[in-house]
């Protein structure tokens, strides 16, 4: 019997041949059957992912073509059900404004959301996000971008600081306005994501027309759930964005905890909760990125026991103070933030990840080939240990720790 690949999707107007992935050997010679797309949480699909990132410590701006080339090398780690990118330093002309990227399922959602935005923000500029028709990217929602700043009066009335005001507004849109989803809300950065293979998603969003000092990318192979546009990575809140390869066993424990602080996990996708946890630990608790890594990928108690007393005391404090913020299960993540990037593996290192350096460039990827395809001869390349964060920041920012090789 002929094997059937199910392509999940809403409409039935797509051409039959459009459903094949060109060049993808998984699809050749197989019949493609169209079915209505279930949302996250409705189906369990047992299944990996790919992540890649590049960062110029000198702040040199690179267009999106290299990151697409890098993630495309790991094509087989994804299955076409999600791809996405985050670019930092891409909106210098609007760098003082929050850039909201929003998916709308329908026009009514757009009207309702714009009404909300006008009421709470000064909208400096709005436009459709430029895309190009792509044979393998279909059923796109309406995709809009708004450069905004909170209305002075509304902000004052709320008695919140500006960032908290923006976060609450984003959560409000995502939970209260049916069919509207703010998937990017930082300054001078943006997330671009879709259902599809990442290289196709990059072309769809014309990423070669943007340039930034940092790019992260994700190719999705959904574990447990089917892919949909909102469920693609990266997940972002303000300037924090996450791409993730793995699966969080502690998702529900983490979710219940973080929702006590006003966050709402609306996507039923495990990675979403990491974004909120990192936003909470950094922005609200004031932890450094290294401390955040020590909380979410905390060492075993037996490892802490073997540490020098002062170091052990710090780790003990962090584990006790934020016990519900420990993430268990396999993960490799890339965290993008304003002026920096952090790579982190779970403490057991159940996912692959390599880091490379060449001059002022730092590369991180699930597989070495994804680095070498854009940087054939790095000065050094290594695999950080489980739970050992690698943090890079722009040279002109005071900072967090530089990445360093610790030999085992």
């Amino acid at each position: 019997m002929q094997e059937i690949i199910k392509i999940f999707h809403f409409s039935i107007d797509r051409s039959f041949f459009g459903a094949y992935h060109n060049g993808c050997k998984k699809c050749i010679g197989k019949k493609v059957e169209k079915v209505m797309q279930p949302r996250e949480g409705q189906v369990r699909i047992p299944s990996g992912c790919a992540i890649s990132g590049m960062f110029s410590k000198e702040g040199k701006r690179m267009d999106g073509s290299s990151i697409i080339k890098s993630i495309a090398t790991m094509h087989d780690r994804s299955n076409g059900l999600g791809g996405g990118f985050a670019g930092y330093g891409i909106y210098p002309e609007y760098k003082d404004y929050y850039a909201f990227h929003i998916f709308y399922d329908h026009k009514a959602a757009k009207l309702a959301c714009e009404e909300f935005l006008e009421e709470h923000f000064d909208i400096i500029n709005l436009s459709k996000i430029p895309t190009q028709k792509h044979p393998r990217i279909t059923d796109e929602p309406l995709i809009w971008r708004y450069f905004v700043t909170p209305l002075h009066t509304k902000l004052k009335e709320s008695q919140l600081d500006e960032k908290e005001f923006v976060v609450r507004s984003v959560i409000k849109v995502n939970t209260k306005i049916d069919g509207a989803y703010v998937f990017s809300s930082g300054k001078d950065m943006g997330v671009f994501k879709a259902v599809g293979y990442p290289e196709d998603v990059g072309e769809f969003y014309r990423l070669d027309e943007y340039s930034g000092y940092c790019w992260t990318a994700h190719g999705r192979y959904p574990t447990n759930t089917p892919g949909w546009w909102g469920g693609a990575h990266p997940f972002a809140m303000l300037d924090t964005s996450i791409v993730h390869n793995g699966e969080i066993s502690s998702y529900d424990a983490n979710r219940r905890y973080i929702e006590m602080f006003g966050y709402k996990c609306t996507l039923l996708t495990d990675t979403e909760v990491i974004t909120y946890m990192i936003d909470y630990l950094g922005r609200r608790q004031g932890l450094s990125y290294e401390e955040t890594a020590n909380v979410i990928a905390a060492p075993f108690w037996s490892t802490i026991e073997g540490m020098p007393p002062e170091k052990g005391a710090k780790f003990t404090y962090l584990r006790n103070a934020f016990s519900s913020m420990l993430i268990t299960g396999p993960f490799s993540i890339l965290l993008g933030f304003e002026g920096g990037m952090m790579a982190l593996n779970d403490r057991l290192k159940l996912r692959s990840m390599v880091v490379a350096e060449k001059g002022g460039m730092v590369y991180v990827a699930s597989e070495e080939c994804a680095v070498r395809t854009v940087c054939p001869e790095p000065d050094k390349i290594w695999a950080p240990r489980g739970g050992e964060p690698v943090i890079v920041t722009l040279n002109n920012r005071h900072g967090q720790n530089e990445c360093s090789k610790e030999s085992a």
Binding site: E367, C369, R372
Partner: protein
């Protein structure tokens, strides 16, 4: 025969390897998976970065990598030899049941996980640099040798976790402090060293190290303690 693998999909590359003669050189290798999987009687030289599961189920071929290997090199290999001039990723020698793997540099986490042996089939994994945590996790047989050259410690944490067969040789002055209770660690004696002499010689010959430099340190041997097995770990019996 030379194959230019630039831009080639893994399936086509593996078909070309199978179709070619006994000796194959792959140039511009870039992440293609399963190279040489299940193959017997070939000599494969790889220039570049082979993808995951290099030489999986290898059944007697010789693979030489001029570069680094990614994850799961030698997964479940049965016979043959893999030489890796650089480093190798996580789970190198995963469930090996025969043959030899020589890595000049480091290996990632879980190298030699679940290696096993049966009668004359006894796999060997030799690591020139250091190994990540969980080396020899659930090891059931075979020999793992870590030379730790140029490294402060030859292994990370949790070495030999769940080990119940085989042996791990560590070249170091003091053995790791966090070994599980079910493991016996002893300084290698003459007959222990005799048992691995040939592998060390082969390692030095292939990667150009001096045997004298390797011999310039103590070795410790880790073996499961058959008097202290994993009783009651799963069921009381």
């Amino acid at each position: 025969m030379n194959i230019n693998a630039a831009g080639m999909y893994f399936k086509e590359l593996n078909e070309q390897i199978k179709a070619s003669g006994k000796e194959v050189v792959i140039d511009h290798c870039m992440g293609q998976r399963y190279i040489g999987s299940g193959l017997a009687g070939k000599k494969i030289v790889i220039n570049g970065t082979p993808g995951n599961a290099l030489g999986a189920y290898l059944d007697g071929s010789i693979i030489t990598v001029h570069g680094n290997a990614q994850d799961q090199a030698g997964d479940t290999m049965n016979d043959g030899t893999i030489y890796i001039a650089g480093s190798s990723g996580d789970a190198t020698g995963y469930a090996m049941r025969g043959g030899k793997i020589f890595v000049n540099g480091d290996v990632g986490y879980r190298a030699g996980i679940h290696m096993k042996e049966y009668k004359e089939k006894s796999p060997v994994l030799v690591i020139g640099g250091s190994a990540g945590s969980f080396l020899g996790e659930y090891q059931a047989g075979g020999t793992i040798i870590v030379l730790g050259m140029g490294c402060k410690r030859p292994v990370g944490n949790f070495c030999g976790m769940g080990m119940h067969g085989g042996r791990i040789y560590l070249r170091c002055q003091t053995p790791p402090a966090d070994l599980p209770r079910q493991i016996i660690v002893k300084k290698a004696e003459k007959q222990d060293m005799k048992a691995i002499e040939a592998y060390i010689k082969e390692f030095c010959r292939v990667f150009g190290h001096s045997e004298k430099a390797v011999a310039d340190s103590d070795f410790y041997v880790l073996r499961p303690d058959s008097k202290n097995p994993y009783r009651q770990l799963y069921t009381q019996n």
